[in-house]
């Protein structure tokens, strides 16, 4: 059964991208385990505001695990201790009375801190801009059923497409590599007949943008996959490698 717990909270505070950050410690009393981690932060912020101080800044939006906005590194895990859950889907029953909960921002050169726990993930948009689409204009595509797609291919594509672009793969990776994110988009599109036409161009353009933005090299630690709230598999990375290598060999 859920009960009230009290714990120590260590939260990273940082005024701006260049400023020096540090942990601030708060004592939390009688927090009911049925509330979510973010609601716990809401309660804390309410308290901070009532003290006339500046509340903790963190990204969050849909609070139902799909928008990819929330991005807290809790007790050593991106999105906290849950498996296949975003930060907003973590409830306080995951924590124990008397525990210390440490909350940090995503840490990666590709995601500079904006303030406190809020980071800049616009690099992900730039990677998509490089080729994460099918080049088709609005207008007159043929009937949706004109191209048949085997169910298992559609399912695999959907597995990859369920990526929410939260950045936890980069946050989890000791190499700051964005390969899981990039490979998920490449896989989704390259698997489908609609995306095959520009498959080689897409793989080259997106990988090259990813490299240019300074993300690290994959060493197959599988940390990204283990922490991904949507369970995206690293077999997508293998597929991307294949696509990229064969595109380069053809050149």
């Amino acid at each position: 059964m859920d009960k009230n717990i009290s714990f120590t909270l260590k939260v990273w505070r940082q005024k701006g991208p260049k400023a020096k950050g540090s942990f601030e410690t708060f004592q939390m009393k009688d927090i009911h385990q049925s509330i979510s981690l973010l609601e716990m932060l809401d309660i804390l912020n309410e308290r901070i505001i009532n003290e006339g101080k500046e509340p903790i800044v963190f990204d969050h939006d849909c609070r139902e695990g799909i928008c990819g906005m929330c991005s807290l590194y809790v007790n050593g895990h991106p999105h906290g201790p849950g498996v296949r859950a975003t930060t907003c889907q973590i409830y306080m029953r995951r924590f124990n009375d008397g525990e210390t909960i440490t909350i940090e921002p995503w840490r990666s050169a590709g995601f500079p801190v904006i303030r406190d726990l809020m980071v800049d993930r616009s690099s992900y948009d730039k990677i998509i801009q490089a080729g994460g689409y099918v080049s088709v204009n609005t207008g007159a595509p043929q009937d949706a059923n004109a191209i048949l797609i085997p169910k298992d291919i559609a399912e695999k594509s959907m597995d990859a497409a369920s990526c929410i672009g939260c950045g936890s793969c980069v946050a989890a990776c000791k190499n700051g590599s964005a390969m899981l994110f990039v490979s998920a988009k490449i896989s989704q599109l390259n698997l489908l007949p609609q995306g095959k036409v520009e498959a080689a161009r897409r793989a080259k353009a997106m990988v090259s943008k990813m490299d240019e933005l300074g993300f690290g090299n994959c060493t197959n630690t599988r940390a990204c996959e283990a922490e991904c709230p949507k369970g995206i598999s690293i077999s997508n990375i293998a597929r991307m490698n294949r696509e990229f290598i064969s595109a380069k060999l053809k050149d």
């Binding site: 809401d42 609005t138 191209i147």
Partner: protein, 647 residues
């Protein structure tokens, strides 16, 4: 008095859109480059419009609050998107989709708009498939369909429980492609602050850069608002935390009409409220109603025992369970439209049959589906939803029924637009949930995605040209014009005034208070008395807000509390508008239920003779009440009936 011209094209219903397209004015490709369009919002409507206009050659500036366009709340739509493809050969057609939408909306939508929506629905699916959206498929490789609340055909296309996400990512990808090609300039973490009118036309916006806190000015030949609905006026809703109605209020205060504000949809399958700290309500997909059976106890003592926690749901035998939807609506059963299902739940809970400690919940039970289909099939269909439920509520839906309760989900009302999706302010277009146009008094499931994409991909890109075609001689505007200066000064004064209040209460605590007033007095069951009370209370909340809000930190830099405060100030205005509209509309229809106006069986009672119109509200000043302007609804081809989901 403002005269509304809805610009419905001549001709039979089925030919209006073609007639319009054949005769509208176009802008030639060389001139498109010289025309700027501002689009606020990057949800389904905003992103698809920005991408499409960019592809056509217009110069687009696209704004979103979040850090990326991909986070817009369209992403959270779970169930699916309707289209009249009739792939399932069950008798669907454009007319039937149109008719279902009109009927589902309780005959309060504009016939011509809805017909056009049904007409372009098929093209949306084609477009999305071409973009690489991995819709569910059958073994033969064709697209799969499922049925959805309020329809007797299977016309819903879906991508697992993440249809909104996939459609949004499709539009987002198309948008990113245009950003790459340089036709669209993207402004993320920007919040629209005001609409700029020059000589009576919409010519620009002010926005606040949420990272630096700077007020920025942008000019264009036309402004498109695609900022979604205002359900967060209730504080607790299924909307995202930053979903807001501020751009609608800004436009309203600049002269745009706010239509049917009281039409808000309450979704029947949300997880019930838990405690005082809840920040939002989580929706459980409506698809659960396909296999789950909704019930409360038949006996009041059982309900009391459940509320006290002395009895478990599994202790109550089948014969003591009241499957009230199946009982009241034999033809549709658990699949009645959302408003009907929501009200029925409220009716049972008001009668004391609620099943949780607050008495505000009903059961959604999968025991019967598990008996019939086996646990594996149920897990396959709903496993991820069950996991989500268990994480939140700490009970296992496989062994004990889920608890659900209605929550604010979608707002059918919005800024008034004509057939071209232009508001009464020339050059101000409103698309998606932000406008009022297609859903009448209630929206059917899987129709929001359809409307957002229809507006963005296939309607606005045509109709906006009809407006822009005579703007090609108009040079780009300087943002140093006095209109910008004045608006920026007003905005800064407002921000400084908010900061200067320096009161004792956080923005959230005031927002919660607003939400409670809204839910208690402008919620699912409204009366003249509750609404009058609401207006009084809302004015008190407004006064409390402007005299006791506290915004810490510097307002000229990143300041989340300021962002929230600006939104809450506007939510209060929206709350007042909703209350006024609901008080005026002395009938029950769709999402608007006036308890004085119901049949003996407790069903909604419309008064077509008096309220066959769109209620549009005009801003008259801070202190005075809004003025009502009516757009009469003319149904040329649809027989107007009473909704009946019983037989």
């Amino acid at each position: 008095m403002t005269k509304l011209d809805s610009k419905i094209p001549a001709g039979p219903l089925a030919e209006k859109w073609n007639n319009y397209k054949n005769h509208q004015k176009l802008v030639n490709p060389a001139n498109k480059r010289r025309l700027d369009v501002i689009i606020v919002g990057t949800g389904l409507a905003g992103a698809s419009a920005a991408a499409s206009l960019g592809e056509m050659g217009f110069r687009v500036k696209n704004f979103c609050i979040q850090d990326s366009p991909r986070r817009a709340h369209s992403i959270a739509a779970q169930g699916g998107i309707n289209a009249a493809k009739n792939y399932t050969n069950d008798g669907d057609s454009v007319f039937r989709l149109f008719y279902d939408t009109i009927k589902g909306g309780d005959y309060r939508a504009r016939e011509s708009n809805v017909y056009r929506l049904a007409e372009v629905s098929n093209a949306i699916i084609d477009q999305c498939v071409a973009q690489g959206i991995p819709f569910a498929r059958d073994y033969g490789g064709t697209l799969a369909n499922r049925s959805f609340g309020g329809a007797q055909v299977s016309r819903t296309f879906y991508a697992r429980g993440q249809t909104g996400q996939q459609l949004l990512l499709g539009a987002y990808s198309a948008l990113m492609r245009q950003v790459n090609l340089g036709t669209v300039e993207l402004y993320t973490r920007h919040d629209m602050m005001d609409l700029i009118l020059i000589d009576g036309r919409a010519r620009g916006i002010l926005s606040r850069n949420l990272v630096t806190g700077e007020i920025e000015r942008f000019s264009a030949h036309a402004v498109v608002v695609a900022t979604g609905g205002y359900g967060n006026a209730f504080f607790l809703s299924t909307n995202a935390m930053t979903s807001n109605g501020s751009s609608a209020i800004q436009c309203y205060k600049r002269g745009a009409l706010f239509a049917n504000p009281c039409f808000a949809q309450i979704h029947p399958t949300c997880i019930p409220v838990n405690g005082d700290h809840q920040s939002k309500l989580t929706l459980m997909s409506e698809s659960l109603r396909n296999d789950g059976r909704i019930w409360v106890p038949k006996k009041l003592e059982d309900a009391k025992a459940l509320q006290a926690g002395t009895k478990q749901p599994t202790d109550i035998p089948d014969e003591d369970r009241d499957f009230y939807l199946e009982r009241r609506y034999p033809a549709f059963g658990n699949l009645v439209p959302r408003d009907v299902a929501s009200r029925a739940a409220k009716e049972r809970c008001d009668a004391g049959f609620g099943v949780n400690n607050t008495g505000l919940a009903v059961f959604l039970d999968f025991k019967y589906a598990i008996d019939r289909l086996g646990k594996d099939v149920v897990a396959d269909r709903y496993g991820n939803l069950f996991d989500m439920y268990e994480e939140i509520k700490n009970t296992d839906p496989y062994t004990s029924p889920m608890m659900i309760f209605p929550a604010i989900h979608y707002t059918m009302g919005g800024l008034w637009v004509d057939y071209e999706l232009m508001s009464n302010v020339p050059g101000l277009f409103v698309i998606g949930e932000a406008n009022f146009s297609d859903h009448g008094a209630n929206r059917l499931g899987a129709s929001a995605l359809m409307q957002g994409l229809a507006d963005g991909y296939f309607v606005l890109p045509y109709t906006i040209q009809n407006y822009l075609s005579d703007q090609i001689q108009v040079p780009r505007f300087s943002t140093d014009l006095p209109e910008f200066e004045k608006a920026e000064k007003e905005l800064k004064d407002k921000i400084n005034k908010l900061k200067a209040v320096n009161g004792k209460r956080s923005v959230d605590s005031l927002h919660r208070e607003l939400g409670l007033v809204m839910w208690d007095f402008v919620g699912m069951g409204r009366t003249a008395k509750s609404l009058t009370t609401a207006i009084g209370k809302l004015k008190e909340v407004k006064k409390e807000f402007w005299s006791n809000v506290r915004i810490p930190g510097d307002v000229n830099e990143l300041n989340v509390e300021l962002e929230k405060a600006l939104r809450v100030a506007d939510f209060i205005e929206i709350g007042l508008l909703m209350a006024h509209d609901a008080l005026m509309r002395e009938e029950s229809c769709g999402g608007h239920f006036r308890e004085e106006h119901q049949t003996e069986e407790g069903e909604a009672l419309r008064h077509d003779d008096k309220f066959f119109f769109v209620g549009c509200w005009k801003y008259t000043g801070e202190e005075s009440d809004p003025e009502l302007i009516k757009e009469d609804l003319v149904y040329e081809e649809t027989p107007v009936q009473t909704r009946n989901y019983k037989s």
